[in-house]
């Protein structure tokens, strides 16, 4: 804050502008009055300067309290009860039962495993492909803006529309992918029914949607790398691949860490793609829950089966798992930073 309080007009009176110049013809009493007025205003300005910032940030915190903190705490409270959606106000205290039950709930751990495997087979190829695409886009290209916008198109597409198209592509009997496989002599794959094909198909939707987004992040970071580094590397005789390995990658390290963290969080909350991949059964994630993620299981318990207490406990378990993932990420990134 470099504004001078005594000369700045109160924001109430038309913005923080310097005061007008004193008038030469003013009498003594008028001067006195002017003085008092100034003092009064200055007190008001001081109060204003002191409290206004809080007022300006208050909306966020009020909204956060109402829609962030309160639901979080209330969910915790509900998770200690048996509550049904049919009567959300009738709560039966059951203590930690909803949590202890999770430990031998096969469906929960199945969902947790699915979340992990879908997370890995979607995040790893996604980030590698994003890196490759960003590297290519970083070269001088004709119509590069077009390619960059095109990269973002899947991200801008509605997830529902995209998933429905993928469901048709991956259809077992009349899907285009099985038709293409058939052309090269491969037997049709039951994409929705079998575990690994199902998870692979769901991952494809995620990869399709997020690769361009990550590529643009990488591209932005690549463009911030000083050109001289490449020039000097070229003078030292490094080819394109060596330049990528020894100049681009090390400079991108913080960006890569960022995308890894964001993608991990996204992967642990995967919901829409598997839900829509099975438009009928939806939340059960396939006949044998073969691609039911934690998010889906939570939704199934809460909104299909109407067990709000159990769903709340699952939500808190997911929260705890996310915290663990966050800590692991933090440790790894600190190691990496130390090693560089």
């Amino acid at each position: 804050m470099s504004t001078r309080h005594d000369t700045a007009a109160s924001p109430l009176k038309g913005g923080a502008a310097p005061g007008r110049p004193p008038r030469g013809t003013a009498s003594a009493s008028a001067k006195d009055r002017e003085e008092r007025r100034r003092k009064k205003l200055s007190r008001r300005w001081q109060r204003d300067m002191r409290w206004s910032p809080y007022a300006f940030v208050a909306p966020f915190f009020l909204l956060f309290l109402a829609f962030g903190l309160f639901p979080l705490i209330y969910t915790g409270w509900a998770s200690l009860h048996q509550v049904e959606l049919t009567a959300p106000t009738d709560m039966n205290w059951v203590g930690l039962k909803n949590y202890t039950r999770i430990f031998d709930d096969d469906f929960f751990w199945n969902a947790a495993r699915n979340t992990l495997t879908i997370g890995i087979i979607s995040t790893v190829p996604q980030l590698l492909m994003a890196m490759g695409i960003a590297h290519i886009l970083n070269y001088k290209l004709r119509a590069s803006t077009f390619y960059r916008v095109a990269m973002l198109a899947p991200y801008a597409t509605s997830i529902a529309a995209a998933s429905l198209v993928f469901v048709l592509l991956f259809g077992r009997d009349y899907g285009m992918i099985n038709w293409a496989l058939d052309l090269v002599g491969i037997d049709p794959v039951a994409w929705q029914d079998d575990k690994w094909p199902g998870q692979f198909a769901v991952s494809t939707i995620i990869i399709w949607r997020w690769t361009g987004y990550n590529a643009l992040i990488y591209l932005a970071a690549m463009q911030a790398i000083p050109q001289d580094l490449y020039e000097s590397a070229a003078l030292d005789g490094a080819n394109r691949w060596q330049q990528f390995l020894h100049v681009t990658l090390p400079s991108l390290r913080p960006t890569i860490l960022f995308t890894v963290v964001v993608s991990t969080i996204g992967a642990s909350q995967v919901f829409g793609e598997p839900l829509l991949f099975d438009p009928n059964k939806g939340a059960s994630g396939g006949a044998e829950h073969q691609f039911q993620t934690l998010g889906l299981y939570l939704y199934e318990q809460g909104w299909i089966n109407q067990h709000l207490g159990r769903a709340s406990a699952i939500a808190w378990m997911m929260f705890l798992i996310l915290i663990v993932i966050g800590i692991i990420n933090y440790v790894i990134s600190r190691r990496l930073r130390a090693s560089s």
């Binding site: 913005g15 049904e84 049919t86 299909i304 089966n305």
Partner: protein, 452 residues
């Protein structure tokens, strides 16, 4: 900003200009504010839920529906508005009941966001009667409502133990067997609906036998029945007791009728009589479009679905025969929440919409089979035909099936149990699991879903 505010702040010395500035500011704020308010009012007008009357002093009665009820398509709203010039009707439709029902429960339990009339699907009516009756109006005492108009069991489904009727039936789903005449003929089976009805009358096992005959000479790539889930739910819906006993206990695991239906379907799936499909999925729709099965259990509304998914050349190739045992699949109710803005008007509207005369009109246009037994003999019903079934008198067949529907014990979680048995159970047999494994998976899933 500063550069621009500086000259303006200088103008404060000039009283007149100050006034104009203030006036301008006030005008700006007012117009902005009214603009915002107008925006809000527009929103309300869209849904018609917040405004109970429009500019001309008319009362707007709102309906919350799912899927296609067809009131509008059958011209019933226009007719009612003509009869009652001070009423306007607006509907708010959610495509799928899975999305509609949780929201309805939410709105009922919080007493907010409710429309004046709310539809309830038959799969949810037991839960609504059991848990939400206190929030809904008793419709049995509304003027013009005669209990005797409805099929007895339909009326009972929406009535609490102490006699409060929370919903009036709109339609029912008497099940018949729809079959492809051309495919039956190619497989050397009879194609006459009466002959077929007699062939499998009385026992689902006889239908399976016909299926075995079909499969022996089946046209390449086709199966007899559409899906294991469809077959099993047809068998189950002709049972009086399925998943709950009359005292409200869950008995699906121990009920021999359920196990028998499951095993019968699993066997049919093992023998390849049914396609490896789950109903209402895109790939199932494609089997309709590609004529991949010869028969399915079908309530009247299914004919509309078949029409929607078929190629044009399939029209007229279907026919409808009586099922081995009659059952019910589908049907809805209209309820009026106590906290509705226009509860009184809504009750009148519901009574009119569900009256026999209107149900007959709805059947004619939409194919929703009436739940009013008093019009089963009316020409609208008996004379009905359908594009897909050519000149077959489907009205007579469905009316006969409707009169044989048993009084069924329905429970609050019927949907979860039946979906678990089909989508998480018997379907697995088509994927190489043994019937025993499939049953165990189904039971495990259902028990987990029922456990509070």
């Amino acid at each position: 900003m500063r550069a621009r505010t500086l000259p303006l702040s200088r103008q404060r010395t000039n009283g007149g200009k100050l006034f104009t500035r203030k006036a301008l500011a006030v005008a700006a704020v007012v117009s902005l504010g009214t603009g915002l308010l107008a925006g809000c009012a527009d929103d309300g007008g869209d849904k018609d839920s917040d405004s109970s009357s429009d500019g001309k002093g008319k009362t707007t009665v709102t309906l919350g529906l799912f899927g296609t009820f067809g009131f509008k398509e059958a011209g019933l709203y226009a007719e009612y508005e003509k009869l009652n010039p001070d009423i306007k009707i607006a509907e708010n439709v959610v495509e799928r009941n899975e999305n509609y029902y949780p929201a309805l429960l939410n709105h009922l339990t919080t007493n907010s966001g409710l429309q004046d009339v709310q539809a309830v699907e038959v799969g949810n009516i037991a839960e609504i009667v059991e848990t939400q009756a206190g929030k809904l109006e008793d419709l049995s005492k509304v003027e013009g409502v005669n209990k005797s108009d409805w099929l007895g069991w339909k009326w009972e489904q929406a009535t609490t133990k102490d006699g409060q009727t929370v919903g009036l039936g709109t339609d029912i789903g008497p099940m018949a067997i729809c079959y492809r005449k051309d495919l039956f003929e190619k497989a050397g089976l009879p194609t006459d609906r009466e002959e077929l009805g007699k062939l499998w009358a009385g026992d689902w096992a006889k239908l399976i036998e016909v299926g075995e005959d079909y499969q022996k000479k089946a046209p390449k790539g086709t199966t007899f029945f559409d899906s294991p889930g469809g077959l099993m739910s047809a068998v189950l819906s002709s049972e009086e007791k399925r998943f709950y006993d009359s005292s409200g206990e869950v008995i699906y695991k121990t009920n021999p009728a359920v196990k028998k239906a499951f095993d019968m379907t699993a066997k049919a799936a093992e023998d390849g009589l049914v396609g490896a499909q789950t109903q209402f999925q895109p790939s199932w729709d494609q089997t309709i479009a590609n004529n991949k099965f010869a028969a399915m259990s079908c309530p009247p509304w299914m004919l509309g679905y078949i029409k929607g998914k078929s190629q044009p050349d399939a029209a007229g190739k279907w026919d409808v025969a009586l099922p081995p045992k009659a059952g019910n699949w589908g049907g809805s109710f209209l309820a009026v929440p106590k906290s509705a803005k226009n509860a009184e008007e809504a009750k009148k509207l519901v009574a009119w919409l569900t009256a026999p005369a209107q149900q007959a009109k709805l059947f004619k246009v939409q194919g929703s089979f009436p739940s009013a037994q008093s019009i089963f003999d009316s020409p609208e019903v008996t004379g009905a035909v359908n594009d897909m079934t050519g000149d077959a008198p489907i009205g007579e067949v469905f009316a006969e099936a409707a009169q044989q529907i048993p009084v069924q014990v329905i429970g609050p979680k019927d949907q979860i149990i039946s979906q678990g048995l089909g989508d998480n159970g018997v379907i697995l047999v088509t994927k190489g699991k043994s019937p025993k494994e499939a049953w165990e998976t189904a039971v495990k899933t259902i028990d987990n879903n029922l456990d509070k």
